[in-house]
Symmetry: D2
């Protein structure tokens, strides 16, 4: 059974191995690299109104896509190093959140939306 993320994970591992960069790719460092990329992503939106952020120029859209690619790459590398199945972890989270935030009480409620993350 194969998937896009498995292919990406292998490509990133090979990239690191060929350059002898696996020595830098311990979980602590990779979590930092991911946080750094998340900072670059959020910076793309920092001075935009919500409306502007939803209507990016082609150049800004391309920059955002590249930053998201960086976040994904470090996330996939970290999952590889820690032997975590990302899609399975995300599915588990959705199931848990479906129980925690029943449709009836959560509809349109930002306070509920705020709490869907892991506390």
């Amino acid at each position: 059974m194969n998937s896009d993320l498995d292919d990406l994970s292998k490509a990133l591992r090979d990239f690191a191995t060929e350059r002898d960069w696996e020595q830098f790719h311990n979980p602590k460092n990779l979590a930092m690299a991911l946080a750094g990329e998340a900072g670059e992503l959020v910076a793309e939106f920092q001075w935009l109104t919500p409306a502007e952020a939803a209507d990016l120029s082609p150049e800004a859209h391309a920059r955002v896509a590249a930053e998201m690619a960086d976040v994904l790459s470090y996330l996939v590398r970290l999952a590889d190093v820690l032997d975590i199945d990302l899609v399975s972890a995300a599915s588990d989270k959705i199931a848990a959140n479906a129980t925690r935030y029943p449709v009836a009480t959560a509809r349109g409620n930002a306070d509920k939306a705020r709490d869907t993350d892991t506390q």
Copy 2:
């Protein structure tokens, strides 16, 4: 053509739609939510030595997996809202980095490793 990430994207979109949370899921807000989760992820490792970070307790491993699931979920939601193909963007990035960091000169070089992200 289907993939794990497409399935996850649809599940997350449905989850938001059912709860009328799409009003909160504009790109600016989603980028912030992703940055918040990246902060929670990095916090899991902040007081650990690199060696400890590579040998997590089962409890810490589960917390890290849950934080990574949160990061992935907001990343996938943001890609959905912005109509970005994450795996394609990551593949483009790997190709660009392969040109930028030839194996011959990049081997074992942290300065090169540092620069693989988008500047």
Copy 3:
């Protein structure tokens, strides 16, 4: 010559020393801790409209103040460990930015505003 930040720096150093926590307070760890707190701060605002963010409830205002206190505390600890004069560094930055963004061309320009940070 004394200042509020010097007093805070000393209080935080004493706090760490008394608990034998200076062993955890190396620059790498402190930078991570600061990033984690910045993530908590940004999370406070993630689902708010800009107007809502400018008109916080007393409870949200208190939470934001506490997160900002955490960011400041790790910033001051990091400055102490690295022997950096924060106020002097910030003043240098303002002077550099004043040259880089002359009032005449920068007025009301978000693209300029975006670039005032360190590249």
Copy 4:
């Protein structure tokens, strides 16, 4: 009563006012800008060992100081916009943490160190 931070706050406010940038400096945007700078700061340390991070080259030290200046500047601007006394908030936090983490039980304990931030 005056302080270094008050002076810095005024200088940053004047800088923004002169350039008509106060329109961008709502709390949501400033929190994002701070998170972006925290990401740049953590990126400086991401591939360094803890020992390397504690012994920066003069160039890296200067880059780190500049990133810390950026974090402080956005923190001070956010405090100004939200009318928060940063030093007072930090002092309150230290007092609360002193109660929460008595010296006797917290000594050398990373689990305690981990929890000093606002939950």
